[in-house]
Symmetry: C6
Subunit: 73 residues, 6 copies
């Protein structure tokens, strides 16, 4: 089943959530084991720098999604 | 309640504050627990590199918001 | 044999997989030894920050692939 | 008082200095306490990597400011 | 002798190799001593994060080269 | 005396050298003390990751300079 059909979203907020999904899929493709990913969650969810790094990946994907949607103008 | 209706802002300064909000929402989506985020604030707010990393995420989002607003020209 | 003929893909999902490939090729060109890369996999596949860093490289390449495909519009 | 009225500057050099200001404002919004920021200055101003990280944030903002000014062409 | 005459390449793959060269030249300009660079190769070629960081620089340059070549369309 | 009059350069190579200069100026504005910067040079010039980080900043500035010069086409 395709997990990514389009970059087009109805709203900027839905676009942000797509960017979150893209960032997480980048991790999932690299570490397919869900159990390992869950274990690691404790690691990054309690580290300020890890959370900033995650937010940074979302920001890069949000640039892509926002441009794809012509900034929902 | 939608937290992000539009990327359009009246001024470059309002756009910068939207970029700050987007950077923080990227953390919030990853770590929804406000208490944990507050605890972590002590960690990053007293580290030069952590603050630079946070400023970097704001810079990426500001690129997106500025382009969305055609640089407020 | 050429490993990269085009940046054009049929779908956003295929584009994401191309971005993954580009990120990995960036590592392969820098460390051609497959054995070393496999050994290192244990290192990054069990570190939250390493996985986020890998996802970040995918995000940058996805920007390029998405723009190349005019966001599959 | 508004600290950011426009992204338009007369020269590439003035644009670079605006990028520096934007990078610093990203820190200031995150850590409003000037005393803390001054204390941290000793930390990053004597670390090669910290200075490179700071220069990186300036580079991202400079992309934005340069595009806003159509590269002062 | 000029090392960089043009950003235009015949293929996406040749463009990727140019991006690799640009990333390496960024290191070479900063550390001109080939012996030091060779010594350091042992350091980064055996570190997952170092290899990811190197791949990240290639990704940024590939954005530039791909845009220069209008994505080889 | 102005240190940055224009982003326009005759060649891609001259553009790369301007990107190097911009990356270094980002450090210089943050740490104006030349003696400190020279001392720090020993630190980053002997670290693979520090050199990669420096090359990354050059890559971001090179994107800006290349776009300013319409990729010297």
């Amino acid at each position: 089943m395709a997990w990514l059909e389009t970059l087009i979203t109805d709203t900027p907020e839905a676009g942000f959530e797509l960017a979150i999904k893209l960032a997480r899929m980048g991790v999932k493709y690299t570490q397919p084991d869900a159990e390992v990913r869950d274990t690691l969650r404790k690691e990054y969810a309690a580290s300020a720098d890890s959370l900033t790094m995650a937010s940074h990946v979302v920001a890069v994907h949000y640039q892509t999604v926002a441009a794809a949607n012509n900034y929902w103008k």
